[in-house]
Structure formats: structure tokens, C-alpha cells
């Protein structure tokens, strides 16, 4: 059913000449809602709770954009998408931004009519196995059956890895992440593979998380980030600098709690970041206080990371590569100047 509606919207987009270009910010303001494409439920990145509230690192990017545009992080329509429907939804204009643990690759950046705006999470693909199999390395997985979600870079890395190491395997590909995990749990597969962050998240959904372990090999680079359509550079800038603002806020020590105090500071870089000096926000098409809105209502990058996937969450993923550049990681945002 989903696919039918996607095709229809795509056909509609094709019919209405030039409808979706250049006016994204105005369209969103007129509509009063940001339409944000997310996953169908990946704890830590985007998943709904029992009341239908979406939370997660990817969700926070959308919340931050909504905070900057509307001064209200709840003015969002979340559109849950399977891996294989996500790009069509973005191309057709059904969503304004795709924030759905999507790996940045050259083919996606160049052939889909869309652009990546940055990296929200540096990830890599790993393997989850049952401890009872007594497998200690991914290189021992010859002849295994592997469950994977279809339409992902995971599926292609898997083929490359097994071929490169002269190992045979059987792949069973499912459309949704939940079906994939269920099939793994029921014993249809020996191995479940996805991005390492996803393995931590999905392991929580298993009946006995402690019976399963993540193998040490990380077989790929998976820089995950948001995407926007081609043809609207202003909107591209807004989404890109929303993430950079969150990173810069963390770097300068601006947090949800102290942001009002920091706004009164005399320090030149803080004045530029928080809008009391210059008109950087207005140049983006937003307001002077856009970073204050983001940090006050959503938090800086570090706060969002801890709350959703890090020490303050059930996933307990360490910052690792995702720490700031001056703290041992590779998260590095251009300066607000």
C-alpha cells in the first residue's frame, strides 16, 4: 500500500512542474509543520514511545529544525519509512528532510536528486550472533545464514565482505527492521547484521539480550546523516547548520540549562553563536536567536547523544568517533562566524 501511495505522489510531483523546488522554508511555514522522514522504530535514533512521541538522535535533528523555524519543537509530522521507501518519499516531496540513519555514499549523493547535509553519527557495520554458537570473529561465519534489511548499504557491504574473504553465506532480506530481527530470533538466521549502533538498539528488543553478542569486526564506514532534495540551497543550509549549531554549542559549553545565562556573556564567539552580535540567523532565513531556540528546546549535540544513545540511555554507546574533535573524536563543525 505504501508503495502505491509513493508512486502516486511521485507521479503527482512529476506532473506539477517545479512544485517542490526553491520554496521549502516558505512551504513549511505556510503548512505550519515540518514533515520529517524517520525510521519505523530504531531505539536511540528514531522510535515512538507508547504515547506516540518520537524520540532519538535522528528525531532531535528534526526537532532542532522545527525549534529554529517555528520556535516549537513539536510542530513536526513524522513519516515512518522503510529503508527502501525512504528516497522515493524525499524525491516526491512527501517529506522535507530525511533523518533516518542513512549512510552517506557517493551514489546516493549524486544520483538520487538529493544531498546529504552532514554526519550526525559515525557508524560501521557489525554482526550480532547467539553466544551459544561460540563464534568469536566474523571470519568464522563461513556458510552462515544472515538476516539483513533490504535496500541498505548493509546488504552490499555484506556481499563484499563475504566475497572478499572467500566465504559462502545465505542472505535472507526483509523489508522492515522488526521482521529481520524476528527472523533472526526465531533461528532462521545465524547472524543479524546492520550498523553497530543498530545492533545495540535491536538487541534490546530481543527476549534475552544477554544471550547475544556483537562480534568485534566493524566491516564498513557508515557515516549517517540527514538528506534534503536538490534545488533549494537555502533549505540545504538550514538543515546543515542546524547540526553544526548543535556541535558548536557543545564545543563552547552551551547547554540546555545554561543557555540563557550564556546569552548574556560578553565573549565574542558566544555572542555570534547566540545571536546578540551580527545577523547570522537572518542570513539563513531564520531569526537572530535560532541557536538559543535549538539549544533551549532540544539541547546541544552532546546532550542529545547522551540522552538518546549514550550514557543516559539504555543503549550505553560510548562517544568514540562521535566525540568532538578536541576530545578524541572526529565530530568537527565549521565555525559560526
Amino acid at each position: 500500500m505504501k508503495r502505491v501511495s509513493l508512486v502516486l505522489t511521485l507521479a503527482a510531483a512529476a506532473l506539477s512542474a517545479q512544485a517542490a523546488t526553491a520554496q521549502t522554508l516558505k512551504t513549511i511555514k505556510d503548512r505550519g509543520l515540518l514533515s520529517c522522514g524517520v525510521s519505523q522504530g530504531l531505539p536511540g535514533f528514531s522510535s515512538p514511545d507508547d504515547k506516540g512521541n518520537w524520540t532519538g538522535l535522528d528525531v532531535d535533528i528534526c526537532r532542532a529544525i522545527a525549534a529554529a523555524v517555528f520556535n516549537d519543537p513539536s510542530k513536526i509530522k513524522f513519516v515512518p519509512l522503510s529503508a527502501k521507501d525512504r528516497f522515493t518519499a524525499l524525491q516526491s516531496g512527501e517529506i522535507d528532510v530525511l533523518s533516518r540513519n542513512t549512510t552517506w555514499t557517493i551514489s546516493r549523493d549524486t544520483s538520487l536528486g538529493a544531498n546529504f547535509t552532514g554526519v550526525t553519527y559515525y557508524d560501521g557495520q557489525g554482526f550480532l550472533v547467539k553466544k551459544s554458537l561460540k563464534v568469536k570473529s566474523a571470519l568464522e561465519l563461513n556458510s552462515a545464514s544472515v538476516c539483513v534489511q533490504t535496500g541498505t548499504t548493509t546488504e552490499q557491504n555484506l556481499a563484499d565482505y563475504f566475497k572478499g574473504n572467500n566465504m559462502k553465506y545465505e542472505v535472507i532480506a526483509f523489508a522492515g527492521a522488526d521482521e529481520t530481527v524476528k527472523a533472526y530470533e526465531s533461528g532462521r538466521c545465524d547472524v543479524y547484521t546492520t550498523d553497530a549502533s543498530g545492533l545495540y538498539a535491536q538487541r534490546l528488543k530481543l527476549a534475552n539480550p544477554n544471550d547475544h553478542e556483537i562480534l568485534p569486526e566493524i566491516i564498513s564506514k557508515e557515516p549517517l546523516g540527514p538528506m534534503v532534495r536538490h534545488g533549494d540551497d537555502q533549505w540545504f543550509d538550514i538543515v546543515k547548520w542546524t547540526l553544526f549549531a548543535m556541535l558548536n554549542a557543545e564545543e563552547m559549553g552551551v547547554t540546555q540549562k545554561n543557555v540563557d545565562e550564556m546569552a548574556k556573556s560578553d565573549k565574542p564567539d558566544l555572542k555570534r553563536l547566540l545571536g546578540s552580535d551580527g545577523n547570522l540567523g537572518e542570513q539563513l532565513g531564520l531569526t537572530k536567536d535560532w541557536v538559543i531556540r535549538i539549544v533551549k528546546q532540544v539541547g546541544n549535540y552532546g546532550e542529545s547523544f547522551d540522552r538518546n544513545v549514550g550514557a543516559g540511555s539504555k543503549l550505553l554507546i560510548s562517544r568514540g568517533l562521535n566525540n568532538l574533535w578536541n576530545k578524541g573524536g572526529i565530530q568537527y563543525a565549521p565555525p559560526i562566524r
Binding site: 508503495r3 509513493l6 508512486v7 511521485l10 507521479a11 510531483a13 512529476a14 506532473l15 512542474a17 517545479q18 517542490a20 523546488t21 529503508a83 527502501k84 521507501d85 525512504r86 528516497f87 522515493t88 524525491q91 551514489s107 546516493r108 544520483s111 538520487l112 536528486g113 554458537l133 561465519l141 563461513n142 556458510s143 552462515a144 545464514s145 538476516c147 533490504t150 535496500g151 541498505t152 546488504e155 552490499q156 555484506l158 556481499a159 563484499d160 566475497k163 553465506y169 545465505e170 542472505v171 535472507i172 532480506a173 526483509f174 523489508a175 521482521e179 529481520t180 527472523a183 526465531s186 533461528g187 532462521r188 545465524d190 532534495r229 536538490h230 534545488g231
Partner: protein, 401 residues
């Protein structure tokens, strides 16, 4: 068959025809040509507009991607396939997987459907109630639910490969599917196949001869000993002269799974099982309606000619019922084929799953891939309809002879 006088169309039909334009005069023809031209122009505009917009947004379009490397693997491929093959080959892999489910599903659905229909018509109270209960239960549950049910049932009932059920160490049943010995052709394969073909043709000619004798001279010729002799004897002779046609490759547990042999994956079993049982419920009702549409006088006429009950059914009732059964039966075959696209829910690699799913997502070329997929389903359905029409036409001809 009695010929009924055709009654003139009722007032209602007459008015309806006039409201819909009546028979076209000269004006009508001009309007019809203009209308078709407008439709063609609209279609052209849609395609052209889509193309221009895709180009403006720098979305790749065209069919060049079909020769690119697919770079992903598929769990069941009837033709040799690996990740370094092209998207075109992925398309054929998916198409064959869809077709094999359709063909096997139609085969079992037809047999089961006829059996349930005959059960429902049976004078045996228990049998007819069981058949009735089957129809009411199965046809009222959504097919997707049934597919998921069978998949869960198949998977949860079966052990892992290391504890698989083994039959004579030839067949192994586990949650990875049914593994059977694989026939690998050897030196005697081609002589054997030729012998089988010759035997089948000979058996067919014998049957034709026997029918001709029966119809022309009223003589009943017993041919089955000869048929059996030819069918068994010829291949046996070929085997004795040229050696065995094939050797068996036995499966063995190696690592996580079985190596060697052929395997029927559980996704295929669950999907085919669910679709056959689901469609069989509808076919049963169609067959029952068809048989009941034959006047009971035909049965009586048969027995008064001295035919047995079985002969009457086979020679008189069923051929007449088939004329009623065929058109809705074709619909069910088409439904089964189209429902096979629900495979994506349980990870069976059918056309929709691997081509309109994975390939679409990797290339992002939705318009091209969805167009190809829709075209293929249309083609499969039209071919199925054509085959059924041909069968119906032959049936009609043989009955009016």
C-alpha cells in the same frame, strides 16, 4: 443444447446504450478519433514532464542502470547469480522466483480446490461439513495474515540445522528448509532424456490409435500394458546401454548449514502453502457452483445410457461445468500470481522484493523500475488469461463436435 430465441433488449438496456452515445455515426467517429488523440497527447505530456523534472532535479533516469552491478545477494536463484551480476539478471532472478510460486501455487490450489468442492457436494455429512468449514475459515482471513502464520508455524516447529530431522540421511528438514539430494547429470543423461521423450510420444500415439478405433469402429482396444512397457522399457534400455543418467549429490552438515544437495527454503514453502490453501477455498466455491449449474437431468441421462456414476461425471457433467468454471477460475489464478508479491513480508526474494525493492532502493530509479514491474505483472496476467481462453476454446470445440 437447446437454442433459446433471443429476446429484444429491455427498455433499460436500450436507454443505457443511448445514454452512452449509441452507435457512432460520422460525427461519432470524428469525436472518437479526437478523444484518442487527446489521450495520447496527455500520456506524452506526462512522460515528457516527468523526464524534464527528473533532469531538472538531477535525478538519474533511463534504463542504463540495468547493466550495472547489483552488488547484493539473493537467497534463492533458479539461474546462476552472484552479487557481481547486473540488475537485469536480478530482474530475471526475481521474475523466475515469482513464476515458480505462481505455477506451484496454482497447481496445488487447483487440486485442493477440486477436492474440497467434491467434498462439499458429497452426500457424506461429516465430509461436506469439514469442506464447508474449510472454505468459510480460509476465505475470510486476509492472505497476508495467513502467509505470516505459516511462516511462523514452519519456523517455530522446525529445529536448527544441527538437530534437523533426517530421513535415511538423504533428506534433512530444519528451519533452514528441506535439503534433498541433488541430481547431477552424468554420461547417460542425454540418451536417457531422448528415450523418455520417445516413450512419451509413443504412448501418446498409442492412445490416439485406441481412441480412433473406439470412435470409428466401436472397438475397445486395451493399450495400457503397451504404454507401461514403452514408458518403463525404453528409459531402462537407455540406462543399461549408456550408463546411469545422473548421480546423486548428498547433503552434509558443514559449518552452520548443509553443503551439497538442493534446498527448498522455508520462505518458499510458507508462501506457496498459504497462497494455495487460500486460493483453493475460492476455487472450491467456483467448482461447486459450476457442477451445480449442470442440470441434474444430465446425470440421469448419463445413467440411462448405461454409464457409471464416475463416467457420467467425467464425460458429461464436468465438461459442461468447466464452461462455467473457467472464467472465474482464471481470475483466481491471476489473484494468486498477484498475491505472490506479499512475499516481501517474509523475505522471499520475488520480483517485488528484489527488483522493485532492493534494486529500486539502490538505484533510486522508481519510475523506471515500477514501470517495468507493472508491465511484467500485466504480461504474466495476460498470458495466463490467454492460456485459459485457449483451453476454454478447445473445450467448446470438443463439446460441439
Amino acid at each position: 443444447m437447446a437454442i433459446e430465441a433471443r429476446s429484444p433488449p429491455s427498455q433499460f438496456v436500450f436507454r443505457l446504450r443511448r445514454a452512452l452515445g449509441g452507435r457512432a455515426g460520422w460525427n461519432g467517429v470524428v469525436f472518437q478519433i479526437l478523444f484518442v488523440a487527446a489521450l495520447a497527447w496527455l500520456a506524452f505530456e506526462i512522460v515528457e514532464n516527468a523526464r524534464a523534472n527528473l533532469a531538472a532535479q538531477r535525478i538519474t533516469s533511463g534504463f542504463g542502470f540495468l547493466t550495472n552491478n547489483a552488488g547484493f545477494d539473493v537467497s534463492q536463484a533458479l539461474i546462476s547469480y552472484s552479487g557481481s551480476d547486473s540488475y537485469l539478471r536480478v530482474f530475471f532472478v526475481g521474475l523466475l522466483n515469482t513464476l515458480v510460486v505462481a505455477v506451484v501455487g496454482i497447481f496445488f490450489a487447483t487440486i485442493l480446490g477440486f477436492m474440497v468442492a467434491l467434498g462439499r457436494l458429497s452426500p457424506n455429512w461429516l465430509l461436506s461439513r469439514i469442506a464447508g468449514g474449510y472454505v468459510e475459515l480460509i476465505r475470510n482471513l486476509p492472505p497476508l495474515f495467513q502467509i505470516l502464520f505459516w511462516y511462523k508455524a514452519v519456523l517455530s516447529a522446525l529445529p536448527n540445522p544441527r538437530q534437523s530431522y533426517s530421513f535415511f540421511d538423504w533428506f534433512f528438514l530444519s528451519n533452514r528448509g528441506l535439503v534433498i539430494p541433488k541430481a547431477v547429470g552424468s554420461a547417460g543423461l542425454y540418451p536417457f532424456l531422448v528415450a523418455v521423450a520417445v516413450a512419451v510420444v509413443a504412448a501418446f500415439l498409442l492412445r490416439r490409435h485406441a481412441r480412433k478405433e473406439l470412435f470409428d469402429k466401436g472397438r475397445k482396444v486395451t493399450i495400457w500394458p503397451y504404454v507401461l512397457g514403452v514408458l518403463v522399457g525404453l528409459p531402462l534400455m537407455a540406462m543399461l546401454i549408456f550408463g546411469t543418467p545422473c548421480t546423486l549429490e548428498f547433503p552434509a552438515l558443514r559449518g552452520f548449514n548443509f553443503a551439497g544437495g538442493s534446498r527448498v527454503i522455508p520462505e518458499f514453502v510458507a508462501l506457496t502453502l498459504a497462497l494455495s490453501t487460500y486460493t483453493a477455498a475460492f476455487i472450491a466455491e467456483i467448482v461447486r457452483a459450476g457442477i451445480m449449474s449442470v442440470h441434474k437431468g444430465q446425470m440421469e441421462a448419463g445413467s440411462s445410457l448405461g454409464l457409471s456414476r464416475g463416467q457420467t461425471l467425467r464425460l458429461i457433467v464436468v465438461p459442461q461445468a468447466m464452461r462455467v468454471i473457467l472464467p472465474p477460475l482464471t481470475n483466481q489464478y491471476l489473484n494468486l500470481t498477484k498475491n505472490s508479491s506479499l512475499a516481501v513480508a517474509i523475505g522471499y526474494p520475488d520480483l517485488v522484493s528484489v527488483f522493485a525493492g532492493t534494486a529500486l532502493s539502490q538505484t533510486g530509479q522508481a519510475i523506471e523500475i515500477i514501470s517495468i514491474t507493472m508491465g511484467v505483472y500485466l504480461l504474466i496476467s495476460l498470458i495466463t488469461s490467454a492460456i485459459m481462453s485457449l483451453y476454454g476454446w478447445r473445450l467448446d470445440r470438443s463439446m460441439s463436435r
